[in-house]
Subunit: 336 residues, 2 copies
Amino acid sequence: MSNIKSVAKLAACSIATVSRCFNAPHLVRPATLARVMEISRQQKFRPSIIGQQLRRNQTDLVGVMLPSLGNPVFADCIGGIEQVLGQHNKRMLLTTTQYDSSKEEQFIEILLRQKVDGLLLTVADTKNSRALALLSTENMPYVLMYNHAAGYETVSVDDRKAACDAVRHLLGFGHRRIAMLAGFLTASDRSAHRYLGYRDAMLEAGLEPMPLSEVDFGTRTLETQLQYWFHTMSRRPTAIFCSTDLLALEVIKALRQRSIHIPQDISVMGFDGLEYGQLIEPALTTISQPNGEIGRQAAERLLRQIGGERNERESLFLNHALLAGRSVGLPQTGGS
Amino acid sequence: MSNIKSVAKLAACSIATVSRCFNAPHLVRPATLARVMEISRQQKFRPSIIGQQLRRNQTDLVGVMLPSLGNPVFADCIGGIEQVLGQHNKRMLLTTTQYDSSKEEQFIEILLRQKVDGLLLTVADTKNSRALALLSTENMPYVLMYNHAAGYETVSVDDRKAACDAVRHLLGFGHRRIAMLAGFLTASDRSAHRYLGYRDAMLEAGLEPMPLSEVDFGTRTLETQLQYWFHTMSRRPTAIFCSTDLLALEVIKALRQRSIHIPQDISVMGFDGLEYGQLIEPALTTISQPNGEIGRQAAERLLRQIGGERNERESLFLNHALLAGRSVGLPQTGGS
DNA sequence: TTGAAAGCGCTACCAC
DNA sequence: GTGGTAGCGCTTTCAA
């Protein structure tokens, strides 16, 4: 391959001049510039970014670490991130952890060694994240997305408040026996906050919160849970609040297979505001969060940190909204 | 920051020894090794990947360039890619083009300069891609995904055949007036192949293919098209074959707003096999393609090329499958 | 307007 | 086992 040296030789100038042609062309005599550029074209020479990174001690790379891409929540978020990074000529090094905390740590290590300019990430659980502990002792800018934890710079919705709003909505329909369902692997962190919001709303209404029901995607635990609710429990819940839309969609699918009608037999509510939830019948009632905006805001804040601004270590809560579909209705009277 | 030199000084050894501690620890006396590693830990030293990349002339980076992440097709594909790359200690540099060919070119340029080990990409249109033209004159391994074009190494389903199967399915229900709808921006390349398949099936059945109807996402052109079919055309189509599931879902949503029932009033078929299409009522009849496998296969082929195997420049077609939902039924008798 | 040279962090060859 | 060192591709300072 051609490199700066071979081009310099062919153009009968020094490598410094070749470098200037690409980085500060106004400093080069037009004739020299033209000659160097022509030869570069012929030789297919392009300044190596690796060399620049080493010399400039800056990579223009931002590490992005998310739980998964299967959830459109994160896909949308990445869209927002990319938009902002693109405007600042930064590229994205993407890794997904599948909620595996050992992967989290391992990737952080790699990204640190790769000398990315900064990091945008969502960890499974801020309280128990070795990755986050590691990161916080290093001198690398980062912003958390979807997580929230005091002392960190985070961008998310207020999950607790949002979940509280969700459950209030159910209460408003007259539901009293409201269960909350969460995915095992689906971010203990966020689920936990959402469960607190559920409790808040229940207690506020003078009701006893039910324990959180956790199910494991891909296994039959959802079936088991439904079996319990519908066939074992004496007075089954009249509404299920799911910690994510993906989970709510699974639930709806499972209920449909059992010929249980929504919302006549039971109400189902989600959380995330996935577009796909609005396409099903009945449309999913849910809390929508601005995923693209979360990505954009996080990226912008990261860029500010990279630019040398002091890390504010503050939580930014973006607004959520209630999306009223038809999957929530009046509670079935008479109970099970 | 600490670097190999500062560690060497503190450990009272040479930088060569420090390097060996990380890359070939068995060559180092245990006592020395322990000392170096301890000091590295204290000093938070990690070998810089940039330095390694420069020296080894290898980045362990793979560029991935896709049209968008909003379409779960690509999100799933990335999942497959990541799985394979992860097993080979390679990382992913991800960019999305939004079907913008100037972005395509620009990103290829960057990725070339970044000296990625190879490239996995989907271009809007192989025939008119300057990005692809550029790439093919460079000495960089790459594999196309979803595209297919002779002379390139590609991984995809056989879109033409798959679309033909789709339309045959519609024909099997007795449909004769079958329209095909495609998104404007949604990959002229693939849409074109799928339209050929549509034609194949129509001609095979002795029917006159209708011209391809193209709509632009986000604008009202879909409305205009439906308006035409339902209110202007004398004998409207009894079935619509959409070039993607995302489009089919849009269509279903729009039809629902007009209180047009599927499949009683009109049948709708998609292409992609999105999970979400199976959650709606009626479940979307569609062609499913193995997105994760496309990603995996493409990544594996790329790794082989990187490993020095001769680029076969052959098309790999993976199997598609017909997913029969309930969005396709018997044609409405009596016509419009 | 240009060139020489130092040095970014690292590996690997060669010598001991 | 270990050290010295050249050199990967580049930018930038200093001098001319």
